[in-house]
């Protein structure tokens, strides 16, 4: 494996296996993410895509396999190196995971306070810049419980951006949002990527937002990669699961269960 820092790939995953007990959630996953692209991990519920994301940011340890970020093997770092790595990545959680006991401004300022020696006034200005960036300029003094779902996600992005990371991970950015707010978030993800040349890894099952944000897509099914490529390649792919996923066709079993529910009503 070459460990060249100038390589065009910023994340390289090789033969990754993750197990919960004896259940294999991710099976032999390999892919590479290019610097500055938006890489979307697509998949149905329970296919292991959130597990994959959690493994990438180091919240879960893989059973086998290697993950290289910035050319370094992140599965073999000591605590100090791990902290250094985590300053260079940001993550937006599905439910934004803002600290409810702190205001939005304090949430964004926290990584700056803890990881830098900047003066408080500087941190305040930087926090304001980050919040302006995501369109929450006037919300620094509000608590997370006072924000709407979309605003929380934006605040989560501002916090993830606090230390100017090189890679940002999004876990289901459009889940639970109405189409307009979700579209606004897609735009924001695009804007972040084009303004800062930020590498973005997005986990989602929202096909519409994939059309807008994805440079390349990887489709997961039952812990395995079905296909990797840009949207055009995906359209030409012949895998039956992929075709079903993109056509939003339900599974045949579910068609059969529907009338049986009606039957029970008739028998009542």
């Amino acid at each position: 494996m070459m460990n060249n820092n100038n390589s065009e790939y910023i994340i390289e995953v090789e033969n990754l296996v993750v197990e919960y007990g004896t259940r294999r959630v991710l099976d032999n996953i390999s892919f590479k993410v290019k610097k500055g692209e938006i890489f979307v991990i697509l998949g149905g519920s329970g296919c292991g895509k959130s597990t994959l994301l959690r493994t990438l940011v180091g919240l879960l340890r893989p059973s086998f396999g290697k993950i290289y970020m910035f050319g370094k093997d992140v599965t073999a770092l000591n605590t100090q190196q791990q902290i250094e790595l985590r300053k260079r990545i940001g993550m937006c959680f599905q439910n934004s995971a803002l600290f409810n006991s702190m205001t939005v401004g304090e949430n964004v300022a926290l990584p700056l306070k803890e990881h830098t020696n900047l003066a408080d006034s500087t941190i305040e200005i930087m926090t304001q810049i980050k919040l302006d960036l995501v369109g929450l300029g006037g919300c620094a003094h509000l608590y997370p419980s006072q924000l709407s779902g979309g605003m929380k996600k934006r605040a989560g992005i501002a916090r993830a951006m606090a230390l100017d990371p090189e890679i940002i991970f999004y876990d289901e950015p459009s889940s639970g949002l109405d189409p307009i707010v979700a579209a606004g978030l897609d735009q924001l993800i695009r804007k972040m990527q084009s303004t800062f040349n930020l590498t973005s890894v997005v986990v989602t099952h929202d096909l519409e937002s994939v059309q807008i944000i994805a440079d390349r897509v990887c489709l997961l099914h039952e812990g395995k990669i079905v296909a990797i490529g840009d949207l055009k390649e995906m359209g030409l792919h012949s895998d039956p699961y992929l075709r079903q996923f993109f056509a939003r066709t339900p599974n045949p079993e579910e068609n059969q269960t529907a009338p049986s529910i009606l039957d029970t009503f008739e028998n009542m």
């Binding site: 985590r86 990545i89 959680f93 995971a97 600290f99 409810n100 990881h115």
Partner: protein, 264 residues
Amino acid sequence: MRFLLGYIGHHFLNGLHSLLIVCVLIMDTLNWLFWQPLRGRGLRWQSAVEHFVEYGFRSMPIVGLISLLVGIIMAMQSAYTLQQWGATIFIANLVGISALRELAPLMSAILITGRSGSAITAEIGTMKVSEEVDALMVMGLNPTKFLVVPKFLGMILAVPCVTVLSMAIMIAGGFVVAVGILGIDFWAYFDQTANALVAKDLYSGLIKSLFFGFTICWVGIYRGFQVEGSAESVGKMTTSSVVTSIFTIIIVDLIWTALFYFTE
């Protein structure tokens, strides 16, 4: 029979496993409390003080009230027997010694468990469910430093302080009954109390209360981090935290009482 053995073995192994996890937690806490600050990683003093005020100062009214009532109850109960021998003055010894050595530390610890031990579990559990703990870790911030150490510091300072207050008020409760109801002379009762108590009564109570503080805090935190998945789990673990904590407090109490008894 096989089922019974299996049941016992299973629970024994589970118990050993959780003991191991608590040991790791304890080592980690001590590491971030003493060693890491020396290496310039800092300690969150402000947060620790906030927790001290919450666990200690805010629990004083309820602990005070209960201590007064327990003092009164103890004096009345002992008067019932001691009156038969005309020895009501010894209520002072009984109330004083049992308050200092046993009841004040125990009552304070149990009240703080119900009030703050449960709150620690619920807070950490909720943070786990809403992925806030994960968010801390992804930011490169250590949850032990951020969540555990401030609570730990606040708790081990708060419990002995509250206990001292409880001791004083419990003895005052005894005064109320002895002087007010039984008509014992105020100064006679005061002198009797002062003569009955030695320094060892005080410090044995305080050492106990310090260890009760450890127990409440570590059980609360351990149960908090055990929360998985849902809000239901938070409720379950909070209940479990209070039960485990009170149980462990009694065990710790027994151990210290035995130690003091045999080293008399």
